[in-house]
Each structure stands twice: as structure tokens, then as C-alpha cells.
């Protein structure tokens, strides 16, 4: 009897039995929850491939990705998404460049030069702006930005007979709007990476007689570069994937991306036509979704690999 007093086998009380049961039951529940993230990504990937490949097979990968005509409802339909891809790339590149530039400078200003009060107010604003729904951005863009850009367009192309006027709903408006949308994140990430720069580095530079602006540009920004790059990649994902806001300011005609062209992004292509498409047309929209998914997943994974490598390098 004494021998078995610690063993779990043998006469268990009811409390012990129920405890054992719940302990292993909950372990399995939590494990399942833990695996849910993997299952979700795999499920999404599987269904996107399943729904996105038939149209690509039918159209041909080459014609799909590099075709320049998108006329899904014509008697002889064409499904080339090149203009949309180029538009997405151009719009994303423009807005990421602009927001990283402005965001980093703002972050430097806020962290290094601005009084505490202003910094706190700005951080709170940035946090709210980062959480504002895209529809709200789209609304402001459509009513505030588009008319302004329209005026500029009218002034620039006055008397031009070849220009198709967009009334302001064009690539330029979309890029500006995207810039504003990812700016809060750029400021936040920039701020975090600047705060992570060791104090000694800053003090060493100041002690050498550099003033605060010189210190910021020559020491802090280079030191904070990994963080800024992370911010840029995050912004790229957000800008690539944004649909609703862009939809409301970009004009939505399939054109090659020039600032004053009415354009259609990959995302807005899906939103515009999903409602009425059918057959191959609808399948082609899923192919666009697949292209987006693959692109963004690839950027994410590359970023993660970079971060893990840098992290490993720092700890070593």
C-alpha cells in the first residue's frame, strides 16, 4: 500500500480522476488552438490555389500575367492583368517611398527634437490614424483629395486634346491617399527603432561636437535602418492589399500607370467586378487574388527571414 502512494495508477479519488481528465483534455484543446494558425494559413493557401489556378490554366500564365488587355466581357474576352500589376507596383512603390521618407523624418523630429507634449499628442494621433477604417480614408480621399488633384490636372493639361481628364480620380490621388494611410505605421515603427538605438551612440556623437540634427542624420538613421526597412515592408503589404480606399479615388479604368491616368489596382479589380462576374471572368478574379496572396506571403516570409537572421546576428 505504502509503495503505491505516489503512483497515479491504482485507487484514484474522484477529484483526481476528473483533474487528470481535464488536464489532458485541455492540453489537447490548447494544442489544437495553437495549430489553428497553421491550419488557417494552409487552408487559405489551398483554397486560393484551388480557386485561382483554373483560370490561369485556361488563359495561360503568360497571357494572364503579361497580357496588356483586360476585356473580360468582350465577345473575344482578354484577361491580361499587366496594367493592374504595374499599377499596383507603381502605386505601392510611390506611396511606400514617400511614407518612409516622411515617416522617418517625422519620427526623428518627434523623438529627438520635439517637446514631450507634442510627441505624446502625435503618437496618440498616429495610433488612432493607424486604426481608422479604409472606408473612412476613401471617403476623405474622394471628397477632399480628388477635387484638389483634379484642379491641378486641369491646370497642367489645359488645352491638351489628347489627355483624358480624370477629374482627379487617378494614380496620383491613390498614391497620395496610400501614403497617408501607411504614414502612421511608418512613424510608429520609425519611432520604435529610433528608441532602440543605444543611448551611448547618441551621446558619443553629441560629445564629438555634432549637433542634434547632424547626429540624427549621420548616426541615428543609419543605426535604425533595420527598423525602417521593416516598416517599409509592412507598408508595402498594407499598400498592396488595400482595396476600398483606393477604389474610391483611383478612377477604375484599366490603364497603364501614369500619374494622371485613371487606373485600376489588382485589389480594386476584384472589388469592382466581383459583383457581376461569372464563369471564366469570375475565376480570373480569383486568379488575381491568388497572385496578390502569393506576392504578399512571399514578402512576409522574406521579411521574417531577414528579421530572424538579424536577430540571430545581434545575439551572437
Amino acid at each position: 500500500m505504502v509503495k503505491n502512494i505516489l503512483r497515479s495508477r491504482g485507487n484514484l479519488s474522484r477529484a483526481e480522476r476528473s483533474r487528470k481528465f481535464w488536464d489532458s483534455f485541455m492540453y489537447w484543446c490548447f494544442s489544437l488552438c495553437g495549430l489553428s494558425a497553421i491550419a488557417a494559413v494552409c487552408g487559405i493557401a489551398a483554397y486560393m490555389v484551388l480557386a485561382g489556378t483554373p483560370a490561369i490554366n485556361e488563359i495561360g500564365l503568360f497571357h494572364f500575367l503579361l497580357g496588356s488587355r483586360w476585356e473580360p466581357t468582350a465577345p473575344q474576352p482578354a484577361f491580361g492583368v499587366l496594367p493592374m500589376i504595374l499599377t499596383s507596383v507603381a502605386g505601392t512603390a510611390l506611396s511606400v517611398l514617400a511614407s518612409v521618407l516622411v515617416g522617418t523624418l517625422t519620427a526623428v523630429f518627434l523623438e529627438e527634437l520635439a517637446p514631450n507634449r507634442l510627441r505624446q499628442a502625435a503618437q496618440a494621433t498616429a495610433a488612432l490614424m493607424a486604426g481608422l477604417p479604409s472606408v473612412v480614408y476613401g471617403l476623405v480621399g474622394a471628397t477632399l483629395l480628388v477635387p484638389l488633384v483634379g484642379k491641378a490636372e486641369n491646370a497642367l493639361f489645359r488645352g491638351s486634346s489628347s489627355h483624358i481628364f480624370t477629374g482627379g480620380a487617378n494614380l496620383l490621388s491613390a498614391s497620395i491617399l496610400l501614403t497617408v494611410m501607411i504614414l502612421p505605421t511608418a512613424i510608429q515603427v520609425g519611432g520604435i527603432s529610433l528608441r532602440a538605438v543605444p543611448r551611448e551612440l547618441r551621446e558619443a556623437s553629441l560629445a564629438l561636437g555634432a549637433d542634434r540634427t547632424e547626429t540624427a542624420f549621420k548616426v541615428l538613421i543609419p543605426a535604425a535602418r533595420p527598423g525602417i526597412v521593416t516598416g517599409a515592408v509592412l507598408g508595402t503589404g498594407r499598400a498592396m492589399g488595400e482595396a476600398m480606399a483606393v477604389m474610391m479615388v483611383s478612377g477604375n479604368a484599366v490603364n497603364f500607370p501614369l500619374p494622371f491616368h485613371s487606373v485600376r489596382f489588382l485589389t480594386t479589380g476584384i472589388v469592382t467586378e466581383m459583383g457581376y462576374s461569372s464563369g471564366l471572368h469570375r475565376k480570373a478574379l480569383f486568379s488575381i487574388g491568388l497572385a496578390l496572396f502569393v506576392w504578399i506571403l512571399a514578402t512576409d516570409l522574406i521579411l521574417e527571414a531577414l528579421v530572424q537572421r538579424e536577430g540571430g546576428g545581434q545575439s551572437a
Binding site: 505504502v2 509503495k3 474522484r14 483526481e16
Partner: protein, 254 residues
């Protein structure tokens, strides 16, 4: 069932670090056994091995046996929660749960399936009395435990451990975070616990070890240098290293 602990050539590694090197000793029942030695000598690790709290650390390897009343506690099939019910523990930092005083003490009995209110009330009162805290808190059992002073919190943690009705009580430097007055109270409490429990206590404070212990063991660099009745170990240590430590002739803390 009396709470006698025996270690037989017990080794423990944290990854590559050989933290315990062949410890063999016997803790007699219903006595206070003090583990002393400089920081990092392995005394806390040994204490935590006695109720398998070292299981929580990843990458732990061990060799040798630890017996509780003759039964190996590391055999497969041993129910760790049953073991910990019999071998309770009090930690260095007072760590009451953020709930009421009553719920803190009732925590152990409840998880072991005691539901009846009257039984719980009895256990809570008995444990708080045994921990010399009843008089101070009997009128505010429903108040949050975090409102107590540090010394009271530690006595509450002792009451929490006693409420499970263990046979052995492990104490990991229970007074190192407390003021002298509270330390004195806890030392008296330890002496009063001796009649009913086997107590194993890790302490940095030699005066405390002399005051409370019946038996003592001196650890250095993961080895057990010597152990035996406290008056002998403190009065006429056999080993030169023990003598150096006790007389403070050489700082071993570095």
C-alpha cells in the same frame, strides 16, 4: 507515511551545466533540515528537486534517486501533483495570488477537490493559526491578500502550503525578502512547525540556520561537502571548507 526524504547519489544538469554532483543525504522526519552554502552552490536546485519543481526547466537531465518514504519520486508513472500535495513549498518572494486571503488559503484544498464550505472554513482557520496569522487577519478574510504587509504575505503563503496538509514543507530562503521583525516571526513559526512537519529550508543566513535547524548540510559548487546534526556542523565542522564558510574567513560568494 512520515515524510522522510533520502537522496541517493543524485546528479542534475541544466543543459551542459552540472548543477548537482552526486548528492546523498537523509532528511529525518519531523525535523528542520537547513541547506546552507554560497550563492550558486546548488542548494536551491536540490530543494526544488525534492518536489520536482525542476521539471519546469527545459533541458534538465538527472541521475540517481530521491526517495520519499522509500519510494522513488522520479519513477515513471509518479503523479507529480500527488507528490507536491505531500511535499509543499514556500518560495523566496512572497507570492500570494491576487485574490482574497481566504481564497488564497483555500486554493490548495479546492484544487484537490474539497468543496464543502464547513470543511474549507476549518482548514483555512487551522492553517492560518498554524502560520501564526489567524489573529491578524481573522476579521478580514475576504480582503485582498495583496493588501497585507510583506511578512504577513509570506506567512499567508506558508498557510497556503499547510492547507494542503503536506508531510514535508520546503522553504526556499523564505525570509530573504523580509524585514528583521517579520523574519523573527517566521523563524518562530518554523520552530513550531517541527512537531508536525518535516521542514527543509534553504537559507543564506547562518544565524537563522543555527536558530531553527536540527540538521544541516553545506553545499559548495554543486557538491555536498558535509551534513549532520546542526550543533556538530556549526560547532565543530569536519571539513576545512565548511569551517571557512561558517567563520567567514574567506568570501566564497564571488
Amino acid at each position: 507515511m512520515s515524510g522522510r526524504l533520502t537522496a541517493e547519489n543524485f546528479h542534475l544538469w541544466y543543459g551542459e551545466n552540472h548543477a548537482l554532483k552526486g548528492i546523498s543525504l537523509t532528511v529525518p522526519e519531523r525535523e528542520v533540515f537547513a541547506l546552507i552554502g554560497p550563492s550558486g552552490c546548488g542548494k536551491s536546485t536540490f530543494l526544488r528537486s525534492l518536489n520536482r519543481m525542476t521539471d519546469l526547466v527545459e533541458g534538465v537531465k538527472r541521475k540517481g534517486r530521491i526517495l520519499l518514504d522509500g519510494q522513488d519520486i522520479y519513477l515513471p508513472g509518479i503523479d507529480v501533483t500527488r507528490l507536491r500535495k505531500r511535499v509543499g513549498m514556500v518560495f523566496q518572494k512572497p507570492s500570494p495570488f491576487p485574490m482574497s486571503i481566504y481564497d488564497n488559503v483555500a486554493y490548495g484544498p479546492r484544487i484537490h477537490g474539497v468543496k464543502a464550505r464547513s470543511q474549507l472554513d476549518g482548514l483555512v482557520e487551522a492553517s492560518l493559526r498554524a502560520a501564526a496569522l489567524w489573529g491578524e487577519v481573522s476579521d478580514r478574510l475576504k480582503k485582498p491578500a495583496l493588501g497585507l504587509s510583506g511578512g504577513q504575505q509570506q506567512r499567508l503563503c506558508i498557510a497556503r502550503a499547510l492547507a494542503v496538509q503536506p508531510e514535508v514543507l520546503l522553504m526556499d530562503e523564505p525570509t530573504s525578502a523580509l524585514d528583521p521583525l517579520s523574519t523573527g516571526k517566521i523563524e518562530e513559526l518554523i520552530l513550531s512547525l517541527r512537531s508536525r512537519y518535516t521542514v527543509v529550508i534553504v537559507t543564506h543566513n547562518l544565524g537563522q540556520a543555527v536558530k531553527v535547524s536540527d540538521q544541516a548540510a553545506f553545499f559548495l559548487d554543486g557538491t555536498l561537502v558535509e551534513w549532520g546534526p546542526a550543533p556538530e556542523l556549526f560547532g565543530m565542522p569536519k571539513d576545512r571548507r565548511t569551517e571557512d564558510y561558517i567563520t567567514g574567513r574567506r568570501s566564497l560568494d564571488g
